[in-house]
């Protein structure tokens, strides 16, 4: 039996390696196909219900699609030019920013405060359920209820009359200085429950050791919260802030129900502005352009938040 020549040996080795590589490629392809099959329902859903509508919306914002007209006229950036020149756009953008900041700051501070205060108290669960209850109501229903609470002859003025001993008839939803704070207060009333629950979950996951170590070192309770518990709670806080910011950006129901009678459209947010333009006036392409601007703003803010989250997680580690 003659030994294989060096070149044959190399050839055989190469063939063997190629076969193995081919088999591996085949396996990878099969695995990918299997994975694709499993992912197909979710992919179809994401593409059909999210990706396609988003791309369609971006495209339509460059057309002249409006009442009685088709989608066939491309107008470039005309809708965007018109949008940035509109007197109501600046007002709506400003109001939206107020909403975003208020939705971020007030529910988070209140939710955290309530979560800390409620931990371990008697009837903790009853209090938690009570505070969470508004969350299960539809925002439109909440808007209608609070519309009547704020009415000149409503519950709030009645209670104020009892306290002051004089007839109070403030039109909370009819005055420039009270309409937005009143609607935001309703929003906080409804959202603080979910913020509290998330933060309570975060608090319950805080390990005992560093807390006990801080206490043994003589840290006061507020020092323990600020220097030990809060840094550990940061990832939960970032999630909560993202939820709150998105809630601020997409605020619609309460503004629609409670702000409709206020004149001069002072309560207009970008989302309500979009609805007015697209559906009440039939300017679908123009409404699409507003939606694109809202989308870009939301992406920008959530991207900044994601960066902050990554930084916070690195700090905790």
């Amino acid at each position: 039996m003659s030994a294989l020549s060096e070149s044959d040996q190399k050839l055989l080795e190469r063939i063997g390696t190629d076969r193995i590589a081919m088999r591996e490629r085949k396996t990878r392809r099969r695995n990918f196909a299997t994975a694709l099959l499993f992912m197909a329902p979710a992919l179809l859903l994401v593409c059909g219900m999210l990706l396609y509508p988003v791309l369609f919306n971006i495209w339509l914002s460059f057309t002249d699609w409006r009442k009685f007209k088709g989608l066939d006229t491309f107008v470039g950036f005309q809708n965007y030019k018109r949008l940035f020149g509109q007197i109501y756009f600046a007002e709506a953008a400003f109001n939206t920013m107020i909403w975003v900041v208020a939705s971020l700051v007030v529910p988070v501070i209140l939710g955290l405060g309530i979560a800390i205060l409620l931990r371990g108290v008697r009837f903790e669960n009853a209090f938690k359920n009570l505070i969470f209850l508004p969350r299960v109501l539809a925002p439109t229903a909440v808007g209608v209820i609070w519309f009547y609470v704020y009415a000149p002859t409503g519950l709030l003025n009645y209670l104020l009359s009892l306290v002051t001993g004089e007839t109070v008839s403030v039109g909370w939803l009819y005055q420039a200085n009270t309409v937005t704070p009143a609607i935001i207060a309703t929003h906080v009333w409804q959202t603080v429950g979910i913020v509290m629950v998330l933060l309570l979950l975060g608090l319950s996951a805080v390990p005992r050791d560093p807390v006990e170590a801080a206490q043994m070192d003589g840290a006061k309770p507020w020092q323990t919260y600020f220097h030990v518990i809060l840094p550990i709670l940061t990832p939960t806080l970032v999630v909560v802030t993202i939820i709150s910011v998105l809630a601020g950006f997409t605020a619609f129901d309460l503004l629609w129900v409670m702000g409709s009678t206020y004149p001069s459209q002072r309560t207009l947010s970008l989302v309500v502005f979009m609805y007015f333009e697209a559906f009440q006036k039939g300017g679908w392409a123009f409404g699409g352009a507003i939606a694109v601007v809202i989308g870009v703003l939301v992406l920008l803010v959530t991207w900044i938040q994601a960066l902050l989250q990554a930084r916070a997680e690195r700090m905790v580690r």
Binding site: K67, F68, K69, G70, I87, Y88, F147, Y148, A151, P152, G171, Y174, S260, T261, Y262, P263, S264, Q265, F276, F279, Q280, K281, G282, W284
Partner: protein, 413 residues
């Protein structure tokens, strides 16, 4: 057998969802956004079926924004519904401009010749000299007044502006607020503005709708001054109330300027028409002006393709007939302008008689007459006046309204 029943049931369910339950060759679909009148529309539809063999099947879309989007997109795609309700004024002009709704002058020629309808009713549906709709409602905007309050103060229906103001003064002196007016639901701010425009300068009122009269013109300023003075005298109720018809029924005001459809709301709130409250057309400030009343007309239109279908025209003819008008008025309380049909209520009967006596002309309601793109913004400004009815605020409002108005008409050129 069971599976066949299941399939039949499922098909029936799908048919119901699609709004084609019980459909037959002689069924004519009527599309509308008045969900609150769905049953009433169907009552007329069934009556049409019995009388003519062509049954109208109502299809309700709500809210109005979705309905408008549905019709607008169906027109953009070249296949509008055969028979559907719409709005008069500029909204109708836009629809007519698409060329997809049919003129109905031939129908109106017969309606007016028969004496069932007045020429002024036909005029409400005219665009550039052609008539494009028949009415499903013709509601005149009138002053309802509390008969007991008037009687207690020794007052009768005012025939002149001076009498109206004297009545207001007397009521106010007796501790009764003369007029009911609110910003309820965000759309009512225009009611008194348009009424006072008509009572002082009807030509300027018409000019507001084609951009020839500015919202900061002397004619408009005169109205705001008059309106502001009336507020200063305490003539109006708290504009922040959300129970306008109920307030009138509770006696919070002696008079209530509202469309005739408001009669049913006041009736439901406890005041009985004719017995407890009456109605009159507000007199003009200048007695030399012709008698006029604001009319809110609801049009029913036919597509160009629908006009060619005999069933559609049979359904339309039944709708406008005395029989159709009677069934509709009995079911919904609506008047459609058929003078030979029964009046749906005492208010309509009284106002129709007054209009005939005084040769009253119909004026389009501000809401329909103003360009649709301006409706929301302008009425929001007018609501702002009701909440702060001073002349300083009025001047700011006039400026903002004119800025919006000028932008709109400039863009149109």
């Amino acid at each position: 057998m069971q599976s066949r029943q299941w399939i039949t049931g499922a098909l029936a369910g799908v048919a119901m969802v699609l709004g084609i339950s019980g459909a037959s060759a002689a069924d004519v679909p009527l599309y509308h956004d008045k969900g609150f009148w769905s049953q009433q529309f169907q009552v007329v539809g069934d009556a049409a079926g019995e009388k003519t063999g062509v049954r109208i099947v109502q299809n309700s879309y709500a809210p109005p924004e979705q309905y408008k989007a549905f019709v607008q997109s169906s027109i953009a795609s070249g296949s509008p519904p055969d028979l559907f309700t719409w709005w008069t004024g500029q909204t109708m002009n836009e629809l007519v401009a698409t060329g997809q709704v049919a003129p109905l002058d031939d129908v109106w020629e017969k309606l007016v010749a028969s004496g069932e309808y007045d020429q002024s009713t036909q005029d409400l549906f005219k665009v550039d000299g052609k008539t494009y709709a028949v009415p499903f409602s013709v509601a005149r905007w009138v002053v309802l007044y509390n008969k007991k309050m008037f009687a207690d103060q020794g007052l009768s229906e005012p025939k002149t502006w001076e009498e109206l103001m004297a009545a207001a003064d007397k009521l106010k002196a007796a501790g009764i607020t003369p007029f009911n007016a609110t910003v309820q639901e965000g759309w009512r701010g225009f009611i008194w503005f348009s009424e006072l425009m008509i009572r002082t300068d009807p030509e300027a009122y018409k000019g507001l709708f084609n951009g020839t009269v500015a919202y900061d013109s002397p004619a408009v300023e005169k109205v705001f001054q008059l309106w502001s003075d009336m507020y200063a005298k305490g003539y109006f109720t708290d504009p922040r109330s959300n129970e306008e018809p109920q307030d009138f029924a509770r006696g919070k005001a002696a008079m209530y300027l509202i469309g005739e459809w408001g009669e049913g709301l006041v009736d439901a709130a406890g005041l009985k028409p004719d017995a407890d409250f009456g109605a009159f057309i507000m007199p003009n400030m200048d007695p030399k002006l012709p008698s006029a009343v604001v009319v809110e007309a609801g049009p029913m239109v036919v597509s160009v393709a629908g006009k060619e279908k005999p069933d559609i025209m049979t359904a339309l003819n039944f709708w406008t007939s005395v029989d159709g008008a009677n069934v509709w008025s009995k079911a919904s309380g609506n008047f459609i302008g058929n003078t030979k049909a029964d009046a749906p209520n005492p208010t309509v009967a009284k106002i129709s008689a007054d209009m005939k006596t005084n040769n009253t002309v119909a004026m389009q309601r501000w809401w329909e007459a103003v360009p649709p793109d301006l409706q929301g913004e302008l009425v929001a400004e007018l609501n702002g006046f009701l909440l702060n009815p001073t002349m300083d605020n009025a001047k700011m409002i006039m400026g903002r309204m004119q800025a919006l108005n000028a932008d709109y008409w400039e863009a149109k050129q």
